[in-house]
Symmetry: C2
Subunit: 221 residues, 2 copies
Amino acid sequence: MPRKICSEKACFPIDAIKRLVGYYRDLKHLKEKGVNVISSFSLSEILGVSPEQIRKDLSYLGEFGKRGVGYDVEHLIKNLEDRLTIVRPSNAVICGVGRLGMALMGYAGFRDLNIRISAGFDVDEAKIGMEVAGIKVYHLRHLVKVCKRIHPEVAIISVPASYAQDVCDRIISVGVRGILNFAPVSLSVPNDIFISNVDLSVELGALLFCTRMGEAGGAKG
Amino acid sequence: MPRKICSEKACFPIDAIKRLVGYYRDLKHLKEKGVNVISSFSLSEILGVSPEQIRKDLSYLGEFGKRGVGYDVEHLIKNLEDRLTIVRPSNAVICGVGRLGMALMGYAGFRDLNIRISAGFDVDEAKIGMEVAGIKVYHLRHLVKVCKRIHPEVAIISVPASYAQDVCDRIISVGVRGILNFAPVSLSVPNDIFISNVDLSVELGALLFCTRMGEAGGAKG
DNA sequence: ATATGTGAACCATTTCACAGCA
DNA sequence: TGCTGTGAAATGGTTCACATAT
């Protein structure tokens, strides 16, 4: 993934986008709790992000607040849904129905973003034809055929590392332009394809290193 | 998590640490394939990171290459294991043995970093006493007692969002200083605790947004 | 009075360019 | 000559400070 993303109109940092998606989710929780108006300062405490950062992030998408007052929660949610294109539903597929793949098929959080997991793929004959969380599992050899019907916008790769590049290539060949990769390898893709790596052992390894370094020194940030 | 981490000797960026852990993993694959010496330029193609970036990242930990030649793969691996403290084994625990928690208990990648998942915790009586991938599941109410025996350095939180802060507090109370959080909420922790959030729907949502923006514009980075 | 929105200042990381060494 | 290691320059995200609006 690049560090920032641009259209003709504007550029903004990927990290800002991720934070904004997080704001959206937490704002929905706030609304359920009956909060109608909130300032960037109060939001700051809930989100663990500075008020200036929140305001700057929101300003990438437009002006949604009232000066001297704050943000109308519902209005802000609606605008985030619109600008982040959450209103527009999407299909996704999962390649690799192992333990992790199955967990992702049942992950409720995707639905909140209007993302529907429409199919799973695996090579294990025992799994073909199964339904996991209401999602049908197909053989990987039918990937192209099934995807031509489903038209997934994004794909999740949760196959073993050694299969990942092959699956990745085939996913791209059916027109998928965004890939969330859980396989612990660096995949090579054309530079019009977005690939985001969630590397669990890298995360845990880096965390462990930090705590051990912290023992002797301390974090500064 | 802060942006950088410091000891008395040096400071370096968290992102560099994460990349280094990734280099370590990919170098081990390379070694298995019989590669003995490699330049930062060849590594660049495999890792998808620029040669300068690789050299700079490595330079945070020391000087491991031979000018005019490249890096001895085995020598580099040994040094990374040493400097990233991967040689030193660690225990971790997982709080929340749902679908995701179970997947993580069986995740092979942790073992490659000498990280051992030593216990799982849940509140579901049906799961208590179970073994998942050889790891015993305890009731959450015994968290403190079991952790005092195991001495985990890091913990993984994969409980529902509403339980996460409570579990987090208790984990910290037994001396854990690093937390990998999968619950989709911002947790508040003292600032000597390292917490890394893996937010699956945020990742997928941001990815989707990028592909949709990319349709009209294009990535620059 | 209060809180937003934003250009400017700041600061960290990435990239560059080249000195240093095999 | 070839590739590493690293100060210096550039890039770009975050923080600051304040003008602006209610």
